[in-house]
């Protein structure tokens, strides 16, 4: 319906700033976007990619003349359909928003008003801007619900947001954006908050809807593999500046800039699988656990896994699969209802309080959120030094020397010894947590989603460090994650969990080799690959399978 080749959005030398109010200090101005320019043709999709703080959401919202939380456009022009929307004030912008440009947020669950029915919110903009009548808009909304493969498209609109699942809400929000037939939709990380098996469906629905309606889109994400599936062009951003801008094919297959190359090759770590040893370090046998006592909700059901010396067991699963509960059961935080835990051939007491100091020392833990895993009132010296003092009685200079050694091992250096956690970057915090675990000289470290809160390049660095430390110290990892790319990079054996049970378990090569069980197949085929056309292949593969069944 749109004339391809015609320029829809033309952003020239965009500068965006904000005022930050550090408590107790004078307010100061900061720059978020620094001179970004690009054009977008009608019906095309531009992917904006970058790590947190790159300014990608801010740029997306600027196409609607909107600044979130005190953010101001301080320079440059935003031409939409040939006119500068920044000139003309709020009245002009209000006619653009919801009519010419619509927005799909990361968390649809928060973006829908809990007090109104979905259908009322979906048709609101179309009716308000006089695009069509209420009844026509409702008809259109129901068609869109159907096109986006929502269940019961005639009636789902009568529900309230909290009555619909997250993946469905995200599609309803896409329908809401499409309802007023805009020229441009801004997708702001629309699938980031979803589980991987849900993400693929939403992604396919969005791509399909874009193709059918011929709407142009800005697709914002931090995941290059995702953006490669939906975009015609990709722009890589860092610290509010453009790093590289090209066709999706060029960016993925022949990146020019070092930063882009690093993003493309992320998690392409090559890890040789090791053979299992005769006696495992940890054996968890037939573990069953529940929250709220024996009559509570069962979250782990008859799980048996082993971790071998100097090797990594990756425990994979989506939210609610019980993978973190497994860690809590092993550490004794949640004593299992049944089953046994054997460490180096001796049985571990189920409850934390009955374990010996040495048992506790041998199993250490690293958390997802490094900033809450460290006491903000302790310096790095105390954080790493306390296990040394507690387990080995080290004091004073001896302890400080060992802390400095550990800081070298995590590639930070002793200059950090007197810093507080708040004075470290995200990656450095996670490194200090690794050093704290290492200080106890454990045989097993449980890593609970240790890289999921980090930007991809930083996460890559942490994974490399963990592999390197395994080589030097011979420590074993039980690595909990939802990310299969990470699993490929580090695992020797894999346990796939689904609804509290083991769906598949074995060495990495066995688990990742067909034939698969239904869930493993679904999971593996849902993980986006850094390859143009992956989404179509994956969806086609599924259709064939369901046709074959």
């Amino acid at each position: 319906m749109a004339n391809k080749g015609e320029i829809l959005l033309d952003i020239r030398n965009l500068k965006i700033g904000a005022t930050s109010y550090p408590p107790g200090e004078a307010p100061r101005d900061i720059t978020i976007v620094d001179g970004v320019s690009f054009t977008l043709e009608k019906g095309k999709v531009l992917g904006l990619i970058g790590e947190s703080g790159a300014g990608k959401s801010t740029i997306g919202l600027s196409s609607m003349g909107y600044g979130r939380g005190g953010v101001r456009i301080t320079g440059g022009e935003v031409f939409l359909n040939g006119r500068d929307i920044l000139k003309g004030g709020l009245e002009t912008l209000r006619k653009v928003r919801g009519k010419e440009v619509c927005y799909v947020a990361q968390s649809a669950a928060a973006a829908f008003n809990p007090a109104h029915k979905l259908i009322d919110q979906v048709v609101e903009a179309a009716v308000m801007h006089g695009v069509c009548s209420r009844s026509e808009a409702e008809r259109r909304a129901k068609d869109l619900f159907k096109a986006l493969s929502l269940p019961d498209p005639e009636n789902i609109g009568n529900r309230y947001p909290h009555q619909v699942s997250g993946g469905q809400l995200q599609r309803v929000m896409t329908a809401m954006a499409l309802c007023s037939e805009p020229d441009l939709i801004v997708f702001d990380e629309p699938t980031t908050a979803l589980d991987v098996t849900t993400q693929i469906d939403v992604l396919a629905a969005i791509k399909d809807a874009i193709r059918r309606t011929g709407v142009a889109a800005l697709y914002i994400t931090h995941d290059l593999a995702v953006v490669a599936q939906v975009s015609d062009e990709i722009m890589v951003l860092r610290h509010g500046k453009t790093v590289e801008h090209g066709t999706a094919k060029q960016i993925i297959e022949a990146p020019r800039e070092e930063y882009t190359k690093a993003l493309v090759s992320v998690r392409a770590i090559n890890h040789e699988e090791k053979k299992p040893t005769p006696a495992p370090v940890l054996r968890v046998e037939n573990i069953t656990a529940a929250y709220g006592g024996s009559k509570g909700v069962k979250v782990l059901d008859d799980v048996t896994v082993e971790v071998h010396a100097g090797q990594t067991l990756a425990v994979v699963g989506e939210s609610g699969s019980g993978k973190s509960t497994l860690a809590r059961a092993i550490t004794g935080l949640l004593p299992p209802l049944a089953g046994s835990i054997t460490f180096n051939g001796r049985s571990l007491s189920p409850a934390l309080k009955n374990r010996t100091k040495d048992d506790l020392r041998e199993v250490q833990m690293i958390y997802q959120m490094a900033d809450v895993a460290m006491n903000p009132r302790q310096t790095v010296r105390t954080i790493i030094g306390r296990p040394l003092e507690f387990y080995f009685g080290m004091k004073g200079a001896e302890r400080d020397k060992r802390v400095a050694e550990l800081l070298e091992e995590i590639e930070m250096g002793k200059g950090f010894i007197d810093r507080y956690p708040a004075e470290l970057s995200g990656g450095q915090k996670q490194r200090v947590c690794i050093a704290r675990a290492l200080a106890a000289k454990p045989q097993l470290i449980i890593c609970d989603e240790v890289t999921s809160a980090l930007d991809p390049l930083v996460a890559d660095g942490i994974l490399k460090l963990l592999l390197n430390l395994q080589k030097i110290e011979g420590v074993s990892y039980l690595f909990i994650t939802h990310d299969l790319a990470t699993v490929r990079a580090i695992a020797d054996s894999i346990a796939i969990m689904y609804k509290g049970r083991l769906a598949r378990y074995g060495s990495k090569s066995d688990v990742l080799k067909p034939p698969f069980d239904a869930y493993t197949d679904l999971l593996l085929s849902s993980v986006p690959e850094m390859q143009i056309g992956w989404l179509e292949e994956a969806i086609a593969g599924r259709r064939m399978e369901s046709a074959g069944n």
Partner: protein
């Protein structure tokens, strides 16, 4: 649909009644079991043992505590609050008239302060981090630090004595006209308003800000709605419960503030009545007043919770 919500409401209301019952036990225990003898208090240190014994018998003090409690509770439930020790007057009828005066004063203060506080709270949100907002947080800081009697006597000193606009003593009597009554309570109502205004303003501000920072408000703005549409359609339905909560909390605070303010302006209400009889150690009156105040306090909190339950879409439309 409504069944779960009715169940919750029934639960919350019965909890309120249970709390009130527990409070009645606490008030009774607080006045009966603690050291100090009512008979001794009434007759003074020079009383003869016979007189003390007689009075104890007349007051039923020789019965065990729980018997006396249930006698008292039975009376309360049938509207009989007993008689005052000091003058033998019927407490229920004394309280009736005074309760009306107190509720009148508190209502006048509420009618002025609630809309004003909500309006100013909205202004503070509108001009966040600018001078009107800073003025409001400054005023709040000052107002929670000022004793009621400081505000009250300042008003008396300047408005009543120096300017002569309003009487310094709030005299009311039966058959007084509404306009005269309003004039009489002008200064105490103003004092109460000043006491709760800043606090209510700041809490309203926080409640509205909380709603205005929600993602769905941004969604509405990105649909191109005007600020009025955003507030009326998207903010208001969600802000209602928190604002009602703020108002109820502050009304509860008003009811307590009334005690000191009535003494300042010598206003014949519940607070004045309570304070007089505490000084005279007239236990039945104190118990009755304490219970009435606590009932108001619990009742206002109950209303806030009920509104929160009724306006919650998750409860109104369960999965």
């Amino acid at each position: 649909m409504g069944s779960s919500i009715l169940k919750l409401l029934a639960q919350r209301i019965s909890l309120g009644l249970l709390l009130l019952l527990a409070v009645s036990v606490l008030i009774f225990a607080g006045t009966q079991i603690l050291p100090g003898d009512v008979a001794q208090s009434i007759l003074g240190q020079s009383a003869t043992p016979e007189a003390l014994a007689n009075l104890r018998r007349d007051l039923g003090l020789n019965d065990p505590a729980y018997v006396r409690y249930f006698n008292w509770l039975g009376g309360v439930l049938t509207g009989d609050l007993g008689t005052a020790l000091t003058n033998g007057a019927d407490i229920s009828s004394s309280i009736g008239k005074r309760l009306f005066n107190t509720v009148f004063l508190a209502s006048v203060a509420a009618v002025v302060s609630v809309p004003l506080a909500i309006l100013l709270g909205l202004l503070a949100v509108r001009y966040r981090n600018r001078w009107p907002d800073k003025l409001i947080s400054g005023a709040t800081l000052a107002s929670i630090s000022l004793p009621e009697f400081f505000i009250g006597y300042l008003l008396i000193y300047f408005v009543a004595v120096k300017l002569g606009w309003f009487p310094s003593v709030s005299t009311v009597y039966d058959g007084m006209g509404f306009a005269d009554r309003l004039k009489a309570v002008a200064l105490p109502a103003a004092t109460l308003t000043l006491v709760v205004l800043a606090h209510m303003m700041r809490m309203t501000r926080a409640a509205i800000l909380n709603v205005m920072q929600s993602a769905y408000i941004e969604t509405a703005e990105l649909k191109g709605q005007s600020s009025f549409q955003v507030i009326a359609r998207h903010a208001f339905p969600n802000a209602l419960a928190p604002i009602v909560n703020v108002v109820m909390l502050n009304l509860a605070y008003l009811i307590v503030g009334v005690v000191v303010v009535e003494v300042i302006f010598i206003y014949p209400g519940m607070g004045q009545y309570l304070v007089d009889h505490v000084a005279k150690r007239d236990v039945p009156v104190v118990q009755a007043c304490g219970l009435v105040f606590a009932a108001f306090f619990i009742g206002l909190n109950l209303i806030a919770d009920v509104v929160a339950i009724i306006t919650n879409p998750r409860l109104r439309h369960p999965k």
